[in-house]
């Protein structure tokens, strides 16, 4: 099987989808001729023509608003927001329109769109190229929210998202584009080619939305993570020697609650990890659900290890980022509680 980086896998997902279904169209800022600032759409305009893959004016509102209209017509737009930090101008169209269109029209009009955006920090992007806004979407009924952590999932989930009949927010951890990253920023960079999950089938396949994956089986404590944090959690487990079970949620909305509950009932302990700020982050929902469904199995308080409640800083990036040290401390604390 070919090996792909996350960028190649994402590109392949769009390529395969555009090849199979001419209703799939791709657009966004710098997405057409140039192929995207992260090169995720490189070659698609050349292959499918300017009316199926094109550059747009710099208006996130326009990109999503037009996509909604196209979806109502019957197309399947897969659009790119250049950075998740820039999705807010489109927030009204996503929340008030895309998310509610099926409901408010009783299914007469639907909105099968995918909104792709690079998310997360770790690239010295400062406060406007580092954010993880997933919780601002998980609160919105009618949306689905996906965060892949490796090339094989990225392709399969993106194909599933494009084929999904409802709007999907597809957050791509940009720090994973070129290799898995465990938070040890001072060590040599690892390439995807060394990782088993960079084996990606060439053709069509999908990974179902709403299903988590267990990345590491363990019996001592459950770690709930997604995106970059999956690798940070793995590093923390190895470095502390704690027998953690690491669940990669993959889809946040709808959530694979069964997988979460089964694991926590088994381990009796739970640590939640994300890069977004703590307060009202998605970890809050996870903690609320876990205590509700596993109350009588919990042996220690559920902990959240997250970005601090500040804007994402530039110089202090590694003090902000919840790296393996902080996650490891939480694992130890969970075991000692």
């Amino acid at each position: 099987m070919p090996r792909m980086t996350m960028i190649e896998a994402i590109r392949s997902a769009m390529d395969v989808s555009m090849g199979r279904d001419e209703k799939v169209v791709v657009f966004g800022e710098d997405v057409g001729y140039f192929g995207g600032v992260f090169r995720c759409t490189a070659g698609l305009q050349q292959k499918y023509g300017t009316s199926r893959c094109f550059d747009t004016p710099i208006s996130e509102l326009g990109i999503v608003g037009a996509a909604i209209g196209m979806a109502a017509y019957g197309l399947r737009p897969c659009v790119e927001i250049q950075f998740a930090d820039y999705v807010y101008p489109a927030y009204d169209q996503i929340v008030s329109e895309a998310a509610r269109l099926r409901y408010r029209s009783a299914g007469q009009f639907t909105c099968p769109i995918v909104i792709r955006m690079p998310t997360g920090g770790g690239i010295f992007g400062g406060q406007t190229h580092s954010q993880s806004p997933e919780a601002l979407f998980t609160h919105v009924s009618g949306l689905k929210v996906v965060v892949p952590s490796n090339p094989a999932d990225a392709k399969g989930l993106l194909i599933a998202a494009i084929e999904d009949p409802d709007p999907v927010i597809f957050l791509e951890p940009k720090r994973l584009y070129n290799g898995p990253f465990d938070g040890h920023h001072d060590r040599p960079i690892m390439a995807w080619s060394k990782h088993e999950l960079s084996e990606v089938p060439d053709g069509h396949y999908s990974v179902p939305l709403g299903k988590a994956a267990i990345r590491r089986e363990g019996s001592a404590v459950t770690v709930l993570a997604y995106g970059t944090m999956v690798y940070v959690a793995q590093a923390a487990a190895e470095e502390t020697g704690i027998d953690a079970e690491i669940i990669d949620l993959r889809t946040l909305l709808p959530l694979d609650l069964d997988a979460v509950v089964a694991s926590v009932k088994k381990t009796g302990r739970c640590v939640i990890v994300h890069e977004a700020t703590l307060t009202s982050g998605f970890g809050a929902e996870l903690a609320a659900l876990v205590q509700e469904h596993c109350f009588y199995h919990l042996e220690a308080p559920i902990q959240r290890v997250t970005g601090w409640d500040t804007p994402y800083p530039h110089a202090q990036e590694w003090d902000y980022f919840p790296g393996p040290k902080r996650v490891g401390e939480a694992l130890v604390a969970a075991m000692e509680a």
């Binding site: 608003g65 996509a67 209209g69 196209m70 017509y73 169209q93 008030s96 099926r102 029209s105 009009f109």
Partner: protein, 410 residues
């Protein structure tokens, strides 16, 4: 060094407020028939004047005059009259129904009937409107059943959208009527997207976007003009300038620009102003713009100059912010009266037959209402089910919603 006096904030104010005498002398009304009709492929730069004038067909005597006249046959005009009268009767009944507690809310069209009724007749099957809450004429003139409109307004068990939306927020794909949002402006760029999709699909269908004068200030308006201009989308972008946005007069949204239509010029989009109370003029301009779009010539911006005679909604009382008699002073008159007079002048209509038709229409509306009420009204009779509240958030109900529905015991 030079000295400068202190600055001060300019806050536009309407010429009159409650207690004052209405005054529309600042609204320049060109003579009917005086504005030229360019070819549909005219260079937008050569027709900029159309954004500062008003295209009118019916003159004071009820005669159809000038280059924009002649787009409709007498039969079509009769149909138009019927549509407008039906909409007005429908509105009157629904305002009453709201007062009787049969629905929570209603929004009427009085004075603006020509805009949506005439526009609808310039479209072809398969075209799609992206309307606001004040274009029910698109449904009436598009033969959508009144009973279904009422079922929606009453949120009853036959409500096609299952009680989920506010009254008047209709949706009918089949009738080329996109689901109304409630959030102002959002549909404008969606209309452009729909039109782009038609072009991408090498279809022949076109879209029409709708927005109020006040709502042109919203961001979606800008996005729509940017995208429509860049991709030459086959879309007609309508601005219904009814002079008011709830209590706010149009000067607040329009600012220093002469007209709303002028906003199109900066995008190279042909922009036309039309007498929105003149059924013939609206239809002729709509037809021109629709033809442009369908011929691949790109977008057109139309400002329909009209006046909101009624309250903004059943929650509003305009006497708090404008003279009670302002609507009588509105210089473009009443659209129904003007079309009626034109038909009488043509000799195909009479005062008696008009009265008779009025009565007939009222009967039809009442009959529809009776039928709709059988399905229930907001607080009485049949209701959409509580299950319907949980359905349709997604194509397939995800586990968490299923759990919640179970918890709700339905």
């Amino acid at each position: 060094m030079e000295t400068y006096g202190p600055l001060s904030l300019h806050v536009p104010e309407p010429e009159v407020r409650p207690g004052d005498t209405p005054d529309f002398s600042s609204v320049k009304i060109p003579k009917a028939g005086s504005v030229p009709r360019p070819e549909i492929d005219a260079d937008p730069r050569d027709i900029r004047d159309l954004a500062y004038s008003i295209i009118r067909v019916l003159d004071r005597e009820g005669e159809a005059v000038g280059p924009w006249a002649g787009s409709l046959s007498p039969d079509e005009l009769m149909a138009g009259l019927r549509h407008m009268m039906t909409l007005r009767a429908f509105d009157a009944r629904m305002v009453m129904a709201q007062r009787q507690g049969k629905t929570s809310f209603y929004m009427q069209h009085m004075g603006e009937e020509a805009v949506s009724c005439a526009f609808r007749r310039a479209l072809a099957p398969g075209d799609m409107n992206f309307p606001t809450y004040r274009q029910a004429g698109l449904l009436i003139a598009g033969d959508y059943p009144m009973v279904d409109m009422m079922n929606q307004i009453f949120s009853n068990e036959a409500d096609p959208i299952k009680g989920r939306q506010l009254p008047v927020m209709y949706s009918s794909k089949e009738h080329g009527f996109f689901s109304i949002s409630g959030n102002l402006g959002t549909q404008y760029i969606q209309a452009v997207g729909w039109a782009m999709a038609s072009a991408i699909s090498r279809d022949t269908k076109i879209a029409a976007g709708w927005i109020g004068d006040g709502s042109t200030a919203e961001s979606d308006f800008h996005a729509a003009l940017v995208f429509a201009s860049t991709y030459r989308a086959p879309v007609v972008l309508n601005i219904v300038n009814n002079q008011w946005a709830i209590s706010t007069f149009q000067g607040i949204a329009r600012g220093g620009s002469g007209t709303f239509a002028a906003r199109g010029l900066g995008f190279g989009i042909p922009a036309l102003r039309v007498d929105g109370n003149d059924y013939l003029a609206v239809h002729a301009v709509a037809k021109w713009a629709v033809e442009r779009a369908r011929r691949g010539l790109g977008p057109t911006l139309i400002e329909h100059v009209t006046y909101r005679v009624g309250a903004h909604s059943t929650s509003d009382d305009p006497s708090a912010y404008r003279p009670k008699t302002e609507s009588d002073a509105w210089p473009l008159g009443d659209p129904i009266l003007r079309l009626k007079n034109h038909l009488i002048r043509l000799g195909t209509w009479s005062v008696e037959r008009h009265k008779q038709m009025e009565a007939e229409i009222l009967d039809t509306v009442i009959a529809a209402q009776k039928q709709a009420e059988k399905n229930g009204t907001l607080h009485a009779g049949g209701k959409p089910s509580v299950r319907d509240m949980f359905e349709g958030v997604y194509a397939e109900m995800p586990p968490h919603l299923r759990r919640q529905r179970q918890k709700a015991g339905v």
